[in-house]
């Protein structure tokens, strides 16, 4: 039996990543898979004030740190929610605000730095334990982060590859998704996404024992239900309730319907944690609650020819 631990959508949350590493040990995972969207979405300037204190604004609240201990705590809190703390002064802050290129470069630098730290942490805690460690970027992640993952001799960057999980099971992997309203770095048209998946699927020796690790869930399942948005990126609601619509990929669905792998591992839609089936294929999305510092993941026990059991964990 092989035990897989799968999670995705950490979005830069340091505490969630650390909990994930810890759960790999606690649950004695044979294979650890991080299914994309590893980088954060926002940077918090921690601005030095004339009185020597530091101020930071996030989650609609202004936070003040007056002592070194308070500042350390503030920086830790920011990294826990997946944001990047950037200690700075008023002058530099104004400069960054007016220079999008410089800000982009700073974002890229901090994102790569954190992924590099994470790769080192994985090596520190799991290298030599016999646990395989697979990681890939997701649609929200810029391409620069691939280099950080590739820098490790332990963590394997699985984007676009067919990898061997154990003696019996292969896995195809991509963090690309269909187009989202935000036009993220790795969003692709359905046709293009379909081509990437087909290219990998054509290399699989035994589809009956294959795992599809695709960041984007298949269209119209329990794993792809997300709030409908209008042109102003506002939730559409009816009768006091949010209108939910399927936002997954038709290319992913077509591939799963056609090839019927043993297992589909997905992420992308944080709130659509759950499981579903398309034909014989079990589909799992562990969900994400990174902003709350809660690690969500799925454990799957695989026998040679079938899924023995699966379980969601969170904490």
């Amino acid at each position: 039996m092989t035990r897989i631990l799968h999670a995705s959508d950490f979005h830069g949350s340091d505490i969630v990543y650390r909990k994930f590493l810890s759960s790999a040990k606690i649950h004695k995972a044979d294979v650890v898979i991080i299914g994309g969207d590893i980088t954060g979405k926002a940077m918090v300037p921690v601005i030095e004030q004339p009185d020597g204190s530091r101020e930071a604004y996030f989650f609609a609240t202004n936070h003040v740190a007056r002592t070194k201990e308070e500042l350390d705590e503030l920086l830790k809190q920011i990294s826990h929610i997946g944001f990047y703390a950037y200690p700075t002064n008023r002058r530099e802050y104004e400069e960054l605000k007016g220079d999008p290129k410089k800000l982009d470069a700073l974002f890229a630098k901090t994102m790569v730095e954190r992924v590099t730290q994470w790769v080192k942490l994985a090596e520190e805690h799991l290298k030599g334990t016999g646990t395989k460690f697979f990681m890939m970027a997701g649609n929200d992640d810029i391409y620069d982060v691939d280099e950080a993952i590739n820098s490790s001799d332990y963590v394997v960057n699985i984007e676009g590859k067919v990898v061997q999980i154990d003696d019996y099971h292969e896995m195809i992997n991509t963090g690309h998704t269909n187009m989202t309203p935000w036009e993220c770095p790795r969003d692709l048209p359905e046709e293009k996404l379909g081509e990437i998946i087909e290219n990998m699927a054509s290399q699989v020796k035994d589809m009956n024992r294959c795992v599809f690790n695709l960041h984007c869930p298949p269209y119209n399942t329990k794993l792809d239900q997300a709030p409908k948005l209008d042109e102003n990126m506002t939730y559409v609601h009816k009768g006091g309730q949010i209108e939910m619509v399927p936002v997954g990929s038709t290319a992913v669905r077509n591939a799963i319907e056609k090839h019927q792998p043993m297992l589909g591992l997905h992420g992308h839609i944080h709130e659509a944690r759950g499981f579903d089936r398309i034909g014989r294929t079990l589909l799992i999305n562990g969900g994400s609650e990174y902003a709350e510092g809660i690690c969500r993941a799925a454990i799957v026990n695989m026998d040679k020819d079938k899924i023995k059991g699966y379980l969601f964990i969170s904490g």
């Binding site: 649950h27 929610i81 948005l229 009768g239 309730q241 059991g309 699966y310 969170s314 904490g315």
Partner: protein, 531 residues
Amino acid sequence: MAEKALFVRKASGLVRAIGAGDAMIFGVHCISLSSSGLISFAWVVFLWPGADLFSLLTIAMILCLFHAVTYSQIGATMPRAGADYVFASRTLNPTLAFASSWTLTIFSGVVAGSLIAWIPSTVLSSFCWSWGKIFNAPDLVAYSQTLTSGTNVLIIGTIFVLITFFTMILPTRPILRILEIGFILGVIAWIIIFASLLSASGPAAFKAAWDAFMGAGNYDSVISTATAHGFNYAPMPAGLLTVAGLIMGFWIYYGYYIPTFFAGELKEAPKTLLIGTWGSLIVTWAIFGLGALIITKLTTLQWMSAEAYLFYGSPGVMPALPFITFYSAVLLPNAILVAIVMIAFVYTLINLAQTYFFYCSRNIFAWAFDRILPGKIADVSTRLRSPVVAMALISLLAWIGVVLSQTTTIFVQINFTLFAIITMLVPVFSAIIYPFTKKDQWKNSPSLVRKTVAGFPLMTLVGMVTMGYLLWMIYASYAYPAVGGFITLNTVATFVGVFVVGLIIFQAARYYRLKKEGLDLGLTFKEIPPV
């Protein structure tokens, strides 16, 4: 720093939140403008004759505001389907949390059936009776009795269970449209009721209108006839009666916190949930409170209690119907307006059952996610995109509720309220201890959850008030015969039996998963320490 200094890059998921007003509308639906509208003016005055209706509605609403904060905090801490179960299972104990959630869901399903049985037994029959009396149709008055027969309640109840089932397996859009229409209809019905009541110049006009339909001298004979048949007004001091009756206040508002079970995925959910639940409480309090103020300008609480006694406590002694819909109809006997109110009340009663179905299905999802129940149970139909299996199971429970409503009083709403309150002790106790047992998570939680008052966690403080409120209602249920009359040894045994079944199911599922799948369910509920 006045400026909101935050750099956001182009990434998915950054959207604005749903309006709190919309969450409030859903909360109002869960409270129900129909059933709560009827019981406020009939059951409270019947069970607690002498309690001050307006004060009871107001005190219960204020205490429910605390309960709403606790449940908003629970929903904000772990924003998932079946949030109270998820929260308690991770904070206190998974077996206890499951057994509580299981018990609440089983009773919610059954009581949804009991509410559906109310459609023929109370709402339709009372409207037929009203219509017959007001528009001089004796056949309808006679038919109202036929509607309440066991066979008819079973047949009509089954039809309405099926209607609820089929509407709940529709795709989201039509369901939402159905609820939207219900909200509009409900508001229109209450506008008609208020306009009718306000059309009377005072008590004399009400008395004259009443006697015109019920027979000369009927109004004056209500109190004396009821008293002659055992009615005892104000057996205890009004203040004590009012606080003893708070459980009924809780039942009237029951449901305002239901959006916390599925609105968790919202951005800024804590704020939205709190404003939504508080808003729905305040809006319904305003409607029912206004109704109480207006009706007591037209008649006395003693008369209303006596009328309710003649209907519930001593049926058959003389014609009686203690519903505000009837009081308004005698004052403004317009066929169209009476028909609109009747349709609105039946429609919104179905809406109420729909919210119970919705809420039970979310709990079933949560158990299936945790692998306590088979995944099949949470299957969503690809064609309809709705949880057909879960809804079918809840419909079966509701149908059992319809059947049992004719044979036992164990599942009457007042008992359900007590059962619901007892099951809430587990999540509410979890909320009290959460800031201490899960300190790190509490510190990282949304501001509504991690707020402190003089250094003490607000979650614990509000949780203690909520716990006090719940414990008082449990105590009052036994201490004061108005409710205690319903709570028998059988009632308690039924509750304990269902709870024990929940404990057994959890342990059996744990054993099965470990033996067959090599997975310990207990790990699902364990905190994960960071490396």
